[in-house]
Amino acid sequence: MNKFEQELKNNNFTCSECKKCDKLVWPPSDFCNKCFGDVMWRPLSRTAKLVEFSRKNGEYFCIAEFEDQIRIMGTIENVENLQVGQTLNLIKCDYDGKEKFIFRSIR
C-alpha cells in the first residue's frame, strides 16, 4: 500500500499538495502535475457536493466533488430526496484493494 491507500485505510482522506506552488494534486502523485515540485500530504475537507448519482439494486452510488475540484465515486447511505448540487458528508473511507468512500446526505 502507498501512503494514500494507508491513510484511506485509517479513515483519512488525504491528497498530495505541491510544496512549491500549493496546487492540490489529484490523483495522488509524488510530483506536482503543474510544476513537478515535491508534494506533501494533507487531509481534505469531509464535505462534498453531489454531482451525479444512480443506483444498483438498493445501493446508491455517486460522483462527489471535494474542494470544488476533486471528484470521486462513492456510496450514499441515506437516500431520501437526493438532489444534485446538495452537500454530502464523507463519513467513512477505506481501502481493501479498492478505494471506498461512504457518504451521508445532509439536508
Binding site: V51, S54, F61, R71
Partner: protein
C-alpha cells in the same frame, strides 16, 4: 504531408471460442493478402499491432508468422481506442515518408486485461465500466429527459444491423420489449444496453498515394484525423451529458478534412453502452444536443443504416484492440460500395469515432472516396 489511403481490410468472425492472440492476428492478415492479389510480403514497410493483451513483441511475432520482415514493427495500446490510435500512428509513418505501406492488426480475447482500468482511483470501488456509463445516463436523462425506451432503440437498431454483418458476435434480433425487460445492472443500464467482450481480429492495409495505385483500384482516403486525451481518470470529464474529448476530436477532424457534419453519409460510433451512441451523435454534430434519442428512434423506424451499419459494438461484439480497425473497415467497404446488405446508398464521405475509458480520450477519422 503525403496522402494516405486504405487499400484493403480483413476481418474474422467475432466469437467466444478460445484461440491464441497470435493466431487471431494471423487469421485477419490472411484475408488482407487474399483480397489484394498484387500484394506480397516484401511490400510491407510497417507492421503495427493493436491489443491490450499482455503478450510481448507481438508485432514482430506476427510479422514472422506472416513471412514479413518490416522496417517498423511495434504494438500500440490505449484500451478501447487502440485500433484507431494504431491507424493514426501508421498514417503518420506513411505521410512522413518513413513507410510506403503499413499493415495494422488489431486483436483481443474475451478475457482482455483492458476491460477495467484498475488504476483510476477516482472511480473508488466502482471500477467496472457499467458505473461510468450509468453516470452518463443519469446526467443525460436529467438534462434532456432521455428515457430507458430511448436507450432501448440504440440496442434494437444495432442488433438488427448486426444481422447483416457476417462477422458479428450476435446473430439474433432483440425487440424494444426484449431490451426493456433485460436484466438491470444498474437502475439505468440493462444487460442489452452493453457491448460484450469477445475474441475478434481485424487487419487493414494503408499505403501512400504512389504505392496504393499499384495494388488497389478503388482506394479510400483518410482525409481527417482528430485525437484528444483529456485524462485517464473518469471524473475529469466535467459535463457528464457530453464527451469533451469527442467534441475536440471531431472539430479537429472536420477541420483537417474541410468537411462538416452535414457531409457525413455513414458513421461508425463507439457504442460501448447505448447512452454512448446518443451522446456521440450530439457531440459529433450529427444531431442537435439533447436530440440523440429521437434521432436514433427515427433511424430504427425508417430502417436507416447511416449510423453503425455493421451493428456497432453492441451488435458486433467488442474485442477492444480490434474494434477501431473493424469500424474503419466498415466505412472503407461502405465508401467502396461493397457493404452488401448493409450498404448506405451513395455513401461518399464517412466518419469513424472511437474512444477509451469513459471517453477520457477519443479519436475521429474522416474517410472519403
Amino acid at each position: 504531408m503525403r496522402k494516405v489511403g486504405i487499400a484493403g481490410g480483413g476481418i474474422t468472425k467475432f466469437t467466444k471460442s478460445d484461440i491464441s492472440i497470435e493466431s487471431l492476428m494471423v487469421s485477419a492478415v490472411k484475408p488482407v493478402f487474399d483480397s489484394i492479389p498484387d500484394l506480397s510480403q516484401g511490400d510491407i514497410d510497417a507492421v503495427l499491432t493493436s491489443t491490450n493483451a499482455n503478450n510481448k513483441y507481438l508485432a514482430n511475432i506476427v510479422s514472422e508468422l506472416s513471412g514479413i520482415s518490416p522496417k517498423i514493427a511495434h504494438s500500440v495500446e490505449s484500451l478501447c481506442n487502440s485500433g484507431t490510435n494504431c491507424i493514426v500512428s501508421a498514417y503518420a509513418y506513411i505521410s512522413s515518408g518513413l513507410a510506403d505501406t503499413a499493415l495494422i492488426i488489431g486483436s483481443e480475447k474475451a478475457d482482455s486485461p483492458g476491460l477495467v482500468l484498475e488504476w483510476d482511483k477516482s472511480r473508488g470501488q466502482y471500477k467496472h465500466p457499467i458505473y461510468w456509463s450509468s453516470m452518463f445516463t443519469s446526467a443525460h436523462m436529467r438534462k434532456f429527459g432521455t428515457t430507458l425506451e430511448d436507450l432501448a432503440y440504440v440496442g434494437a437498431k444495432n442488433h438488427r444491423n448486426a444481422l447483416d454483418n457476417p462477422y458479428a458476435l450476435f446473430e439474433n434480433a432483440y425487440s424494444i420489449e426484449d431490451i426493456m425487460q433485460s436484466k438491470h445492472l444498474t437502475e439505468n443500464v440493462r444487460l442489452l444496453d452493453c457491448s460484450m467482450p469477445c475474441n475478434g481480429s481485424a487487419a487493414i492495409l494503408l499505403a501512400s498515394e504512389d504505392h496504393i495505385k499499384k495494388i488497389c483500384d478503388q482506394p479510400v482516403w483518410i482525409t481527417g484525423i482528430g485525437q484528444k486525451a483529456i485524462s485517464a481518470g473518469f471524473t475529469r470529464n466535467e459535463d457528464l451529458s457530453s464527451m469533451k474529448s469527442t467534441i475536440i476530436s471531431a472539430a479537429d477532424a472536420y477541420k483537417m478534412s474541410k468537411k462538416t457534419h452535414n457531409d457525413i453519409d455513414v458513421a461508425e460510433l463507439h457504442d460501448a453502452f447505448s447512452i454512448c451512441e446518443i451522446i456521440e451523435l450530439e457531440d459529433l454534430g450529427l444531431t442537435r444536443k439533447g436530440e440523440g434519442g429521437s434521432y436514433v428512434r427515427r433511424l430504427h423506424e425508417t430502417d436507416d443504416r447511416k449510423i453503425n451499419p455493421r451493428g456497432g459494438l453492441i451488435g458486433s461484439g467488442h474485442p477492444l484492440g480490434a474494434t477501431g480497425i473493424a469500424q474503419t473497415i466498415e466505412i472503407f467497404q461502405q465508401l467502396q460500395g461493397k457493404a452488401e446488405k448493409r450498404q448506405v446508398d451513395g455513401a461518399k464521405t464517412g466518419l469513424v469515432h472511437n474512444m477509451s475509458a469513459a471517453a477520457t480520450s477519443s479519436t475521429v477519422l474522416i474517410l472519403e472516396q
